[in-house]
Amino acid sequence: MNKVKSFILVFFVALAINANAQLGIGLKGGLDFNSVTRSNAGRVDETYHSKNGLDLGLVLSYQVNEWFAMRANIEMLSRSHTMKRNLNAVKGIYTDYNNQYLTVPVMADFTFGGTKVRGHFIMGGYVSYWMKANVSGNTFDIYDKVRPFDEPMEFNEYHNRLVAGVVAGPGLSCELSDKISLELDALLYYDLVSYMKISKVSADPRYNNTASLTLGVIYKL
């Protein structure tokens, strides 16, 4: 977390010393679409499935010159997934993991194309903190009776709540006026840190991959 703080500090110092550059702030919202990468290590029948969620956040944009900007977002990404059991004995048993990740990406934004509508390629890195999770689905009780459930998930010592990764994707912006522009971003967040801690003896890492499609409004200060 200290590295992130330092990066943000450097970012704002750079901002302060470039008086001709333009700072923008904005809001963004849209959908995220998360999948889990996990090996078959030790698994019997569970399969992992993608799940949609919401992506809401604040955008801070710093236009260095015509073709390059720096961006830092503070986003609440869902990064959810579903685990399904597939053996006949447990057909219909599943768990929806409805997560909330506070995600802070810091990205380079390369702009190209026309004047009013412009293309972007965005890439950078992020840290993402697993703030909370809710689990819902069907389980079976000791009498083998299927039981629906919907409850907060308790984190344990094996959960790695702070993860980090790389993010990249294209974007499209449209200047509505000198001050206001619309931004459509399609970004992919690729975790490089497993969200479950990795045992020294028996490694079974699990990674989130999150595609996000958001529409944002940026106000240039």
């Binding site: 090996s39 399609a186 992919l188 490089l192 490694a203 595609a211």
Partner: protein, 425 residues
Amino acid sequence: MRKISLIILAVIALTFGSCRKTPDYVPYIGETSNLAYSNYAEQFDVLWNNINTGYVFWDVDETDWDAVYEKYMPQFEALDLRIAAGNSVSTKELQALYDDAMGGLRDHHMLIQVKNMYSNSWDNVVSVNPANNEIKTRDYYYKDSHALSSELSQFNKNLASGSNSSYKISFSGYEKVNTDDVQVTVCYLLFELPDGRLIPYLWQNGYKMSVIMSGLNNTSSPYYKAAQLIDKWKNAAIKTPKNKLAGVILDNRCNNGGYLSDLNHVVSPFIKKDHAVISTRYKEGPGRLEHSVWSPVTIAPSTTNRDLAAENIPYVVLSNIYSISMGEITTYNISQLPTGYVIGERTYGATGPLLSDAIDYTYGGPFGDIEREKHYVYTSTYEIQTHEGFVPEGVGFTPNKEVLTRDAGIKGQLDAALEYIKNYK
């Protein structure tokens, strides 16, 4: 959107994929029968992996399982080197190594058996029983299970035959019955207090009521006589008028456990609404703390029942260090009834129910086969938690009133129960 994200994912994966940690090969829990091994190190590896992924108590067990692997694997490899050099490894030596490595696990149902594959002796099976090691360290440990159970059995037999004149007993019965896998002793006594009030008392050394009661109305059933005794206890507790019934005693001392469905015989008849004070969960993945959510174990009232709480009639359970498994689960369930009360000793601590042949869908529970696979592990499928969030595995349930066998003896514990009921207001 999906196409774009797949292209980006491919580009990123190619660039950064190597930054992700490569998973190890982890055998799935039911896979052991396919994992042939030919030396001590591989045998240990299979056991370690299956307990690693299937053990249901990693949330409360303080064993550093990774450290166990790192410490003991070189020792098993050293044994293999000795075999390769033409030397032998005794089963006693193997026993000591496994005892050291796995004898401190918390599961009190657990039995780990390993065959010494290089010994032709008839006595070539290592048996590790973590509970046996732990209970001997308790300050109230008194005698081994067999000795205490025999003493209690004889005491009750004497009461039932009328050879103990310390008590007034209106009716008694003592039966041994062979159920599907074990012999169960059932003893029913109807104590009469000096004021004429009655106390129906039931002792069994195992919970097989669900099977035994199937013979209740069949005079040719091998269970008939034992079922009649259980039924008499229930009827006396349910039908005796309030002014004639002082209380009810269920003796769970030296009870080795049995069927969970027996809650229907010792709790259901005495409640008017659903009773759910424990919940269970099972493993739902190979990760040590990958569990299902907790599900309540709900006990519904019987069709014929009596609300002991509404009538303020005490329901006393006797427990001791050998109240095991269902002998403990019933104890706790009754203790949580408004007039439930437990007298005796802290129970054994083997509270996680087991299912056989369910390993593929519960990830945990017994695995292996000592003859075919050279190992067998008897271990819990479910973890139990009380409604207060307490996991009793390896600890047991503490009575409301402690009366130790060591100090008061078997008779002293019974006397404490009768005294409690006699003075109950």
